[in-house]
Amino acid sequence: MNIIVCVKQVLDPDIPPAKFKVDSASKQVVPPEGIPPVINPYDAQAVELALRLKEKQGGKITVLTVGSDGADKAVKYAISMGADDGFVLSDEVFEGSDSFSMAYILSKAVEKIGEYDLVLCGRQAADWDEGLVGSIIAESLGTSLVTLAEDAEVVDEGLKVKRVTLDGYQAFIVPTPAVVTVSNEVGQARLPSGLGIISAARRQIPVWKAADTGIDPSLVGSAAARRKLFALSVPARERKCEIIEGETPAEAATKLAERLREAGAI
């Protein structure tokens, strides 16, 4: 089974809220210094699902990422987890692309790779949390699609995928090739092994430019974007917190109950 996983490098979603900043004037997130970006956690989980499928079925896992300087780190991370191969798609003309252009860029790379049974994406990229790219790739490749997968297995007719719903799941059987977007319910992604980290560190990840995959530059970049950022801000969620103190924890607890009663909360 040949699996292609799309991975994106994102600002570490675990940064403390105090370190998160935006420049509202330029409508940009100011990356905190000293905290390097990481592979989108959902994409690491997509790699995890790919590895589980490969362990059962055999085959090859190829990783793709669209990004600029340092984007190869996301690919290398996937390789250190156990993926076989990877490519970085990088070109100035990609700058400012929206989800549609991203999906177009990734589809072209998928087509260049050629033989594939499954394309895996994360349910959303933990930076802009858009949750679009995977579905659009399926549309542009014309394959079947299941979103928000918590599990997938190969069956005779193709792929059986469980899709997370609010109160449970639905199971579908779809023909391959298919695109599946992966949700956190697949479970935690494995950590890279030592040898994996070293073999990834030794790899040179090839870079494909727009021309290498036959991308039409007029369909990518900010000029082609179908949506534009109107404003960006940090929400004011602060509340005035009344800290209840006491000689002992029990005393504080008692006071808290009384205060909540006074405030009409209980």
Binding site: W128, I136, E139, D167, R227, R239, C241, I243, I244
Partner: protein
């Protein structure tokens, strides 16, 4: 570009009844319809839905469109995508709003791709820019660390609305409007695959979304046993228990109880957070609570900044006395 006009909400029918999200979509739609001075349409897919379609008119739709089809969870999303896309082709709306629900989050991106436009998911605010008449779509980004407002430059402007982010429309049974069945035939080739199973895990007690009081526990609880105290308090206060991602990842409790960006979005009157640090991804699911109380042993935990009341301490020492006092106060 064709002159797109009107606002179309894609309502949902569950077990033959109008789902709660539909009234919220109509609430948002009504406001936009007034601001844009364009009509509001409601699209419903289901079997024998004349009556519920009439309800949408009472809730503010100028016109209801019905499509004969199965419930979303009993069908393939492909079918819904094809049906709604065909309806949009026919109606040429300028704004399409779906719920950020099982249906909307799956259908909206594909619908956008089919209609050669884009979609903005999980919006918590929708309004019309008075100057440009464009739809301003507000949504949390970066796990709730920031808020973005997007403008779609193609037509139609498709958005999904997060449940409980706007007031539901109120019903006015005297309103009138037409119900128009849309005869749409979907070609077999549009449907890929089959549905083999739909599983619904029943939650016991009160649903998190409906709870007035939630006692939520996080990584600080330390294990499944610790949740006993939380359950005791929740049942005393007539509420229910929720969790952060950590207890789910640890396997203490199921992911269906997770509150947050990727879990449930709740808005109780009282949210008691025990052993929770207050990561933005978690706060995204509970910051709408009226009163937030934090019990955490780390005085620097972020959650204190977003709480109304707090105790710095070990929950194991705080909870027994707190439960005791609550019981006493409630019985008096």
């Amino acid at each position: 570009m064709a002159e797109n006009k009107g606002i179309l909400i894609c309502g949902e029918v569950v077990d033959g009844k109008l789902a709660a999200i539909t009234a919220e979509l109509l609430g948002a739609g009504k406001k936009l319809s007034a601001e844009l001075e364009q009509p509001l349409g409601a699209l419903l897919i289901g079997k024998d839905i004349e009556e519920v379609a009439q309800e949408t008119i009472g809730l503010g739709a100028d016109r209801a469109y019905t499509i004969d089809g199965p419930a979303f969870l009993d069908s393939l999303p492909d079918l819904y995508v094809a049906l709604i896309a065909a309806a949009c082709e026919k109606l040429q709306p300028s704004v399409v709003i779906l719920g950020q629900t099982d249906m909307g989050r799956d259908v909206a991106p594909r619908l956008a791709a089919k209609l050669k436009t884009t979609a903005v998911l999980d919006c918590v605010g929708l309004e019309i820019d008075p100057e440009t008449r464009a739809l301003l779509q507000t949504r949390p980004v970066y796990g709730g660390n920031a808020t973005a407002v997007w403008v779609t430059e193609s037509q139609p402007q498709i958005a999904t609305l997060r449940p409980r982010s706007v007031m539901a429309a109120e019903s006015d049974t005297s309103r009138t409007g037409e119900i128009e069945p849309l005869p749409i035939v979907v070609e077999d080739s549009a449907i890929k695959g089959k549905l083999v199973e739909t599983v619904k895990t029943e939650v016991e007690g009160i649903k998190l979304e409906d709870a007035k009081v939630i006692v939520a526990g996080g990584g600080g609880i330390g294990g499944p046993e610790g949740f006993e105290k939380l359950r005791e308090l929740a049942s005393l206060l007539g509420g229910t228990v929720g969790v952060t991602r950590v207890p789910c990842d640890e396997g203490w409790l199921p992911l269906t109880m997770e509150i947050g960006q990727t879990g449930r979005i709740v808005g109780p009157d009282l949210y008691i957070a025990v052993g929770i640090s207050g990561a933005p991804q978690h706060m995204a699911g509970c910051s709408g609570s009226k009163c937030i109380v934090t019990i955490n042993k780390d005085p620097d935990a972020n959650l204190f900044k977003e709480s109304n009341f707090g105790i710095v301490g070990d929950y194991k020492q705080v909870m027994p006395a707190f439960i005791e006092k609550c019981r006493e106060l409630l019985s008096s």
